[in-house]
């Protein structure tokens, strides 16, 4: 039971590359997830069945299956879809792109629920007042409803972001070398999986605990303002 903690330092380049990939995936999935999640939420709340039903179906489906299953869906089918559409053979879409598409799709489903709740928490009088002033749907949403909804939902959205950061580790299942994947590879090469995995757990803990602490402080500040 002897531990060689220096292996962490020796592998710092690989680990840092992995972390960069994790962060990159996190950032893109967060932005895409919020953007498409907002569109999905609006579609779900729309009075046009042709919009609300597929949106609701999509969101409920994604939320009923494991994240890994959803990743597999998009990871294996995105290239096939692109091939069918563009008629190209071979590696039209790489693993990273497929993973990004997968993450954006899944996160948008989860974010759409949060944003939908946020929109529904705004009193009905607000959009009515906007319409009464002569605004159209997009203006009312963009200038009155969504800003308020986002402000109300910020704490929950931040918490979901922390969960998203943790979920990026799941790209392991499609072979991408994120932070965890890098440690795994390093562990196989050096035989020092214990030290590396403990390090990964520790770093994740620091980042997530620190982030949730900041979110808690932010909540307290917002509560005071309200």
């Amino acid at each position: 039971m002897d531990f060689d903690w220096a292996v962490i330092v020796k592998n710092r380049e690989v680990l840092w590359d992995g972390m960069k990939l994790s962060l990159k995936l996190f950032g893109i999935a967060l932005a895409g997830g919020i953007f498409f999640g907002t569109l999905l939420a609006m579609a779900r709340l729309s009075s046009w069945k042709i919009l609300s039903m597929p949106a609701t179906g999509f969101v409920n489906l994604i939320r009923s299956i494991p994240f890994i299953m959803a990743i597999f869906w998009f990871y294996f089918l995105t290239p096939m879809l692109v091939q069918k559409l563009t008629g190209q053979q071979g590696e039209a879409v790489g693993p990273m792109t497929s993973a990004i598409v997968a993450f954006i799709m899944v996160e948008s489903a989860y974010y759409s629920e949060i944003i939908r709740a946020g929109i529904q928490s705004i009193p009905r009088g607000q959009p009515w007042a906007a319409y009464a002033l002569g605004m159209n749907y997009w203006q009312a949403m963009g200038t009155v409803v969504l800003p308020q909804a986002f402000r109300n939902m910020t704490p929950i959205m931040l918490t979901q972001a922390i969960i998203l950061f943790q979920d990026t580790s799941l790209v392991y299942v499609v072979g991408l070398k994120d932070f965890l994947g890098a440690a795994s590879k390093g562990g196989q090469l050096t035989g020092r999986i214990v030290e590396l995995y403990v390090f990964v757990a520790f770093v994740y803990f620091l980042i997530c605990f620190g982030a949730s602490y900041l979110v808690k402080r932010l909540n307290e500040k917002i509560a005071v303002i309200r």
Binding site: S64, M69, F76, L77, M80, L180, A201, F205
Partner: protein
């Protein structure tokens, strides 16, 4: 074995891993959640530390910690037992993995979900008005009796909806076990797609099974909520004066 058989065995392992893990999660989580509402300082600190550690490390990382790291940091005798003797203890049916993988997966999933259950239980107890605790104490109940007769019966009823969500989540999170070799449903669907190249069909079949599981759980929990409903209580739809 036919591919349908593969799906069936995958489903079986998904259900087994999830339910065993839920037993751990529910009992451990309840204890931790209750402790966090008591005035006992040190147990409360320990319970809080537990929750913070388990919810700030990704589930996949925890899975690796249990499977790769845990046997190395426990006493050597225990580590060897886990890796060598446990697999030979029981021959698992329809599985290309051993009792050790199953144990690691269940322990990981159970302890992780326990931290989330703890939060729900705590929220449920804290949602009850302070007056209920006071009424119990004023009658002469000791604090444990207040929990037993007043807080827990109502607290658990309040949290059936969020608990449903946790129960569903455990079925979904069970797929993480495929990384240590458990051939649960997601893993089997991948296997089938690799053998038959019928990726779409394989994934659809697995997806349908997950949807059925989800709907069954939701239906069961709604039935449970109805059975346990307290007539006239404000959070119920029916009843009242």
């Amino acid at each position: 074995m036919t591919y349908l058989g593969w799906l069936a065995s995958g489903t079986m392992w998904t259900l087994l891993v999830s339910i065993c893990a839920w037993v751990i999660a529910f009992t451990l989580g309840s204890v931790l959640g209750v402790i966090r509402t008591t005035p006992l300082r040190i147990p409360r600190a320990i319970a809080t530390a537990y929750v913070e550690v388990f919810r700030n490390i990704p589930l996949l990382v925890q899975m690796f910690l249990w499977y790769f790291v845990m046997p190395e940091v426990v006493p050597e005798r225990v580590g060897l037992y886990l890796k060598q003797e446990l697999p030979n203890l029981v021959e698992l049916p329809f599985a290309q993995f051993s009792m050790w993988e199953f144990t690691a997966a269940v322990l990981c999933l159970g302890t992780y979900t326990a931290s989330r259950v703890a939060e729900q239980v705590r929220a449920g107890i804290l949602a009850l008005p302070r007056g209920q605790t006071n009424a119990g104490l004023a009658m002469g109940f000791t604090l444990p009796q207040v929990y037993q007769f007043v807080l827990l019966p109502m607290g658990y009823r309040l949290i059936i909806p969020p608990m449903t969500s946790e129960f569903l989540t455990i079925f979904k999170n069970s797929s993480t076990a495929l990384t240590i070799g458990i051939l649960e449903l997601t893993a089997q669907s991948r296997q089938i797609s690799e053998y038959t190249f019928k990726t779409f069909e394989a994934f659809t079949a697995a997806t349908l099974i997950y949807v059925v599981i989800t709907l069954t759980v939701i239906y069961l929990m709604r039935w449970l909520e109805g059975r346990l409903a307290v007539p006239g209580y404000i959070s119920q739809a029916a009843g009242g004066h």
